[in-house]
C-alpha cells in the first residue's frame, strides 16, 4: 500500500518488519528520525521483543551492536558522518569479527567545517572496513534494501551498511510502498549465527592474530565479499519476483546500450541524472547512466560490462580524496582497465550543495564535446577560492578559510573578525 511518508519513517518501519532484537543508537542529524521512530515502536510495544538502548556515543552504539550480534541477536543501528567516524574503530571490528550487523548510514559531510548536509564522504571513509555498502537511489529502495541487507548480512556473516542520502532522502516525504510483515518473515529467516557466545558451547571470539594468519583472515573476508557479489543480484531478483520492485542489485544501468557517454553515480542523484539523460537524449546526445548500488563489494565485472562500449565515462561523485581525486573513479578505472575510454571525474554536491539539472546538463554537454577536464568540481565558486588564496598569500594569520568565505558572501557579520 502506497503511503506518503518521510524516508526515515519508511526505513524505520521496514527495519521493524525485520524484527531486530537489539537496536541502539546515538542521535546525529540526519539519522535522528529513523531511530526516534524505531525507539517509539519499541517503547509502545509494537516492535517486540526488542531492546532499544540509548547509548552515550556512536562508539558505544556499534559496540552494543557487536555484543548483541555475537550473542545471537539481530542487531541494528544507524548513524551519519561524525558519528560514523567516532565509531570507526568498532566499524572495522564488527567486520573483522564477521558480525552481521545492519546499519543505516544517513550520508552526510564530515567536518571541519562542520556541516550537517549530504555528501558521501562518510561512506567513503569506511570503504575499506570490510562492510558491505549498498547505496539507495530512492526512499523506496532505501526501505527495501534493509530487508535484503539483513538477509545478506546473516547469510554471509558480514555487516551491511545501507547508505541513504541525508535529508535528500531521509527527510523527503514521498509515496512509498511498505512491505507486509508476512512477506518479510518469509523472505528473511530468523538469524542463525555462525558463531555465538553460548555457555553450552563456549568459544573465544576475537583472538589476537599475528603475521602467521592475518593475511589469510583478510583474504577470507575478501572472499566473503566476492560471495556477496553472487548473492546480491540473486537476492534482488528474488525480491523483484516477490514484489515487482527493482530494489538492490549490483549496478543499475539506464539507457546505456548505445551510449557513448555514460555517467556513473551513486545514491539519490541518479534520479536527477536520469531525467537529465532523457533530456540530452532528446537533444540527440548518446548518453546513459550507470548507478552503482553495491559500492562494497565493488562489482568490477558488472561495471566493466556496462561500460564496455562507452567512449567516455564520467564519474559523478559526492566525495573525493583530497590531494588525489575521485574515489569511486579509482574503482571504475580499475574495473574498466581500458586505456581507450576517456575517464572524467566530476565532484559534486559536497556538504549538501544542490546538484541542479542545469549543471548536470552542462556536464553532459561538455562531455559530449569532450570538453570536460579530468577532474571537475561542479559549480565551484572560483572567485571565492581565488580571494581566499590571495588572502592566505598576503597574510600569515589569514584566519579560518570557511569563515572567510562566508564573510565574503556576507553570510556572517563583518565585525566578527575586524
Amino acid at each position: 500500500m502506497l503511503r506518503q511518508i518521510e524516508g526515515s519513517r519508511a526505513i524505520a518501519e521496514t527495519v521493524a518488519l525485520c524484527r531486530p532484537e537489539v537496536v541502539c543508537a546515538y542521535p546525529i542529524s540526519p539519522q535522528t528520525h529513523i531511530i526516534e521512530a524505531v525507539g517509539a515502536m519499541v517503547k509502545a510495544g509494537t516492535l517486540a521483543p526488542c531492546e532499544f538502548i540509548n547509548v552515550e556515543s556512536e562508539f558505544a552504539a556499534m559496540s552494543v551492536a557487536i555484543g548483541a550480534s555475537a550473542t545471537g541477536a539481530r542487531a541494528y543501528t544507524a548513524t551519519a558522518s561524525q558519528g560514523l567516524l567516532f565509531m570507526m574503530e568498532a566499524v572495522y571490528n564488527a567486520a573483522g569479527l564477521g558480525l552481521p550487523i545492519v546499519m543505516t548510514l544517513a550520508n552526510r559531510a564530515i567536518g571541519a567545517p562542520i556541516n550537517i548536509w549530504n555528501d558521501h564522504s562518510d561512506a567513503m571513509a569506511v570503504r575499506d572496513s570490510g562492510w558491505i555498502q549498498l547505496f539507495a537511489e530512492s526512499n523506496q529502495e532505501a526501505a527495501d534494501l534493509h530487508v535484503q541487507a539483513f538477509l545478506l548480512a546473516e547469510e554471509l556473516s558480514v555487516p551491511v551498511m545501507v547508505c541513504v542520502d541525508g535529508f535528500i532522502l531521509t527527510h523527503a516525504v514521498e509515496g512509498i510502498d511498505l512491505l507486509e510483515q508476512s512477506f518479510v518473515d518469509s523472505f528473511l529467516p530468523p538469524y542463525e549465527p555462525r558463531q555465538v557466545l553460548d555457555t553450552k558451547a563456549p568459544v573465544s571470539i576475537g583472538a589476537m592474530v599475528g603475521p602467521e594468519a592475518f593475511e589469510e583472515v583478510r583474504y577470507l573476508a575478501h572472499l566473503r565479499q566476492l560471495d556477496a557479489l553472487e548473492r546480491i543480484p540473486e537476492i534482488a531478483q528474488e525480491f523483484f519476483e516477490a514484489t515487482g520492485r527493482e530494489s538492490g542489485g549490483l549496478v543499475r544501468p539506464y539507457r546505456i546500450e548505445d551510449a557513448e557517454v555514460i555517467v556513473v553515480a551513486m545514491g539519490s542523484v541518479l534520479g536527477t541524472l536520469k531525467d537529465t539523460v532523457d533530456e540530452r537524449r532528446n537533444a540527440g546526445e548518446l548518453v546513459g547512466v550507470l548507478g552503482v548500488t553495491s559500492f562494497r563489494p565493488f562489482p568490477s565485472e558488472a561495471v566493466r560490462n556496462a561500460l564496455a562500449n562507452a567512449s567516455q565515462v564520467v564519474v559523478l561523485e559526492k566525495a573525493f580524496s583530497i590531494g588525489a581525486g575521485g574515489v569511486l573513479s579509482t574503482d571504475i578505472a580499475i574495473a574498466m582497465h581500458r586505456d581507450e575510454t576517456i575517464l572524467r571525474t566530476v565532484v559534486a554536491g559536497l556538504g549538501g550543495r544542490a546538484i541542479t539539472r542545469r549543471s548536470l546538463e552542462k556536464v553532459l554537454e561538455d562531455a559530449s564535446h569532450n570538453q570536460l577536464a579530468p577532474l571537475t568540481f561542479l559549480d565551484l565558486d572560483h572567485e571565492a577560492v581565488d580571494r581566499e588564496r590571495a588572502r592566505m598569500q598576503a597574510t600569515r594569520r589569514s584566519g579560518p578559510s570557511a569563515e572567510n568565505l562566508l564573510r565574503d558572501r556576507n553570510t556572517v557579520s563583518q565585525g566578527a573578525k575586524e
Binding site: 568459544v203 576475537g206 592474530v209 583472515v217 577470507l220
Partner: protein, 541 residues
Amino acid sequence: MTIPFAITLDVGSSRANHTGSWRVERPVYVDRLPPCNDACPAGENIQGWLYDAEAGNYEAAWHKLVEENPFPAIMGRVCFHPCETACNRVQVDEAVGINAVERFLGDLALEKGWTLPEPGSDTGKRVLVVGAGPAGLSATYHLRRLGHHVRLVDSASRLGGMMHYGIPAYRLPRTVLDAEIARVIAMGVEIQLNHVVHDVEQERRDGKFDAVFLAVGAQIGKRVDIPAGDSSRVIDAVNFLHHVANDDPPLLGRRVVIYGGGDTAFDAARTARRLGATDAVIVYRRNRERMGASGEELEQALGEGVTVRWLSTVNKFDGDHIVLEKMKLNADGFPEPTGQFEELGADSLVLALGQDTDLSLLEHADDVAVRDGSVEVLDSMMASPSGIFAGGDAVPAQRTATVAIGHGKRAAHGIDDFVTGRVAEPKERHELASFERLNTWYYADAPRTERPELERIRRQTNFEEVIGGLSEDNALFEARRCMSCGNCFECDNCLGVCPDNAVIKLGDNMRYQFDYDFCKGCGICVKECPCGAIEMVPERN
C-alpha cells in the same frame, strides 16, 4: 558450529603451550622437622597427632601418640613441655597448648578404654629392666612391642618410680598413673617388686638375660652440712615425698622451711601446705630468674600460700629457728655471701638440693663407665658392649620423666638392635621448620585456651588435682592452633595462588603435586605457603 578461522578459537586450546619451559627454578614440596617434635625428649610426633586431633580424630591421634610414648595422661600432667617452649606459635601469639591436648587425649583414652598396640610376636630374647620408673616402663613398653620378654624389677613395692614416689598426687592423680602403667603391664610383663638388684652381672647370668636396661633413677637426696640442734627435724625432700606417697607422712610441724629451688622443692612446699603447714617457706640462694623450677609451678605455689625467700642460704637450724644469710649475685650471676643474717621460725627443714644415684649394683660390671655418679652411654643408651643399657636419672641428662621416657624408647630400640645383631641405620633428620620459613599471615589470631585451675583455697588443703583438663571444644580449638610448621596440612594455598593453575590437588589427605608442564616458576606458592612446606630449587637443564 564451524567457527571462523583464526579470530575465533576453541576453548582450552592453550594447554598445548607448555609454559613450564620458561622456568629457571622449580618449586618442590618438602617436609621439615617441626620444632615441637624436635624438642620432645620422648621423641613424640606431636605435629602428627595434633593433625589427627585437629580433625576430631582423637582415637587416631592417641594411637599416633602412643607409638612413641605410652603415657599421654601422665605426660599431659607432669611433662615440662619443651615442645611448647620451642613452638613457633610463641612468635605469633602464644605457644600451642600441646601438653593440655596430650592430657585430653590421655584422659579420653582411659575413659574410653582404648588399648595399646598388641605386643610383638615372641622373639625368645629376654631383657632385664631394673627400675620401674618412667624410663624402665617406657623401655618395657617398647620392648614388648618388639616381642622381647621383659622382667621388670624394682626395689619399691609399687610401680612408677619417681612418678609415684616423687610427684605429688595433686599433680598426678594415682588413678591416672596406675591406669596407664597397668596398660603397659597388660602387654605381658614379668614383674618383681620389692627386689633390690645388688649385682647386675649376677642377676643377668641367673636370669639368662640377653640384655639389661638400668633405669634405677636418682633416689638419694643430697645433704649439706648444716649445723642443726635436732637432726630429726631435717629431712630430705625425696624421702619426704616418698613417705607421703606411701601414706606415711612425717610430722613436720606448722612452720616448714624448704631449702632449694628446683621442682622438688616446690613439690615439697606445696605438699607441706596440704599436710597442714601454715608456713611453707622456700629458701633459695639465687633469684627468681635463676630458679630451676618452672614459672608455672612458682605461680601455683605462691597462689597456694607458699612463700619464697630469694637470695638466701640456710646457715643454721636449731629446731625452732633457722638463721638465713642474705646473698647477692656477683657479676657472673653466682650468689655470694653478704655477711647479713636473719632469723626465721621453723619447725622443720626439708632439703631439696638434688639427688644422687645408687650405682652399687654396677660394682662387677667392669665395662660400664661411671663418671660423676652417672652412667656413660652411647646414643643408643648402650652402657656396655656386653648388652647393658642405661637411662633415666642414672645417666647424664635432664632429670625429668619425659627425658626418661625418651631414654626408655631409645634403649628399647638399641637393645632390639643388639639382641638381633642388627646395625642401626642413622635416621634421616629433616631440616628444622624455622619460624622464618612460615607465612604467618594465614594463621588466625587465636589465643591459647587456659586449662581451668582448681580454686586455690581448695588445693591448699587436699591432694585433689590442681590443673583440670580441657573440654573437647577447647582441646579441638587448641589443637587447631597448631601451625603445622614445615609439613603440608592441605590448606589449598598453593592450589589457589598459582597464576598458571599448575598445582594438582590429589584429594583429601593426599596433598598436591606440581604440573611442571605449566609451572613458570614464579615462586608465589613458596611465599604463600603458611607452613613453609615448599621450596624453590634450581631447574635442572
